[in-house]
Symmetry: C2
Subunit: 210 residues, 2 copies
Amino acid sequence: MKKIKIIIADDHELFRNGLKELLKKYNDIDIVDCVGDGEAFLEIIKSTKSIDIVLLDITMPKMDGFEVLNQIKSLNTNIKPIIISMHDDGIYIAKCAKNGAYSYLLKNTDQDELIKVIRIVSEGKKYFSPKISEKMINYMSEQTISENILSKKEQEVLELISKGLTTKEIASKLFVSSRTIETHRANIIKKLEVKNTAELIKKATKINLI
Amino acid sequence: MKKIKIIIADDHELFRNGLKELLKKYNDIDIVDCVGDGEAFLEIIKSTKSIDIVLLDITMPKMDGFEVLNQIKSLNTNIKPIIISMHDDGIYIAKCAKNGAYSYLLKNTDQDELIKVIRIVSEGKKYFSPKISEKMINYMSEQTISENILSKKEQEVLELISKGLTTKEIASKLFVSSRTIETHRANIIKKLEVKNTAELIKKATKINLI
DNA sequence: ATGTGCATCCGTATTTATACGGATATAGAA
DNA sequence: TTCTATATCCGTATAAATACGGATGCACAT
């Protein structure tokens, strides 16, 4: 039988070793290595191939979990990261999900759940528990409060700006003078308290206007 | 005992009525009304207060589910929408989550699951099943493939552009000529195949570069 | 050793965006 | 009704971005 090869990356030694002991008992699991920071982890996976899973903490010295997730993606390995974190903030969860985590567990997760998730993930499936999903979704939906700041026309103009149209193009598309669009642009920029178009689009995206 | 007041909004009459019959059997549930499109639904909730839950389809004539979700948010009611859809695409799920859905069920969900979710949501909690979460998370992480397109410097410049700095400001911040930054800008725009800064920032945000 | 990608630099011309400081008509809210 | 927000329009001036078409030195991989 093929064992699931795992690396543990966590800066708390006690936790790391405890976890190792805990997982030792399972026949289908093989703890290949334990490291205390993100850089050390990356070193290892450069030499050691065929790792299945990394149990990854977010807050680590030198290179944090988010960075590690990014690196894993760009390295084109098939290591599947499971985040084990003490934070249950929606933003953390969403960020990990976005960056390719296969699961997100809290440090107070019980043993059975952990084993269950390891086995699910080892088959290439992602698993996020309903509680974790709820947190993330709450966060995602909160990000959409700020509507109604812009008038309908302004919203329309913003939409077209974001599509790459110039003032002139927008003007002819909406059958108005380009002066009008210029004014709209100026007002939009003022309302969102930004300096220029680049910052505008960034902010508008952030608060979900486009 | 207080019943959970529900409205069903779905354009398929058979499904709508079937669902109604099905839910009739439960003592703690009260189907207040059934409608076939989004506009009709909005009409009803304007007059009828104290609805707890709407079972909402996405594809509907006149006004689709996404629009309805948006309206519900801006109307400041405490109706909790549960999406019942036949699509299990990640993008649909993510969009609903973002727009304030309390749950997302597929039309082939079994009865027990539906009742369970209705009861959970009626208490104000959100619930997304692991399968649905998986779909959504897969979608979210796919949105983040394209790294490594830009060089480090280009990435750095992009970051500063998105913060609203002008070419000149970036140049002096990075101790290089503004010509250099101009070239970087041009190259970034070319690489991401966009027309101008506005579109650039939008795309960069979308593919998670900033 | 040779090539490829990258960071860096330069000039010129045109197009856009931004910053001023106005004005009017209309519709909806107070 | 009066106030307020909105959409629309106008001019002038400067700042910035974009489009051309180049060039060099350096590092890294083949």
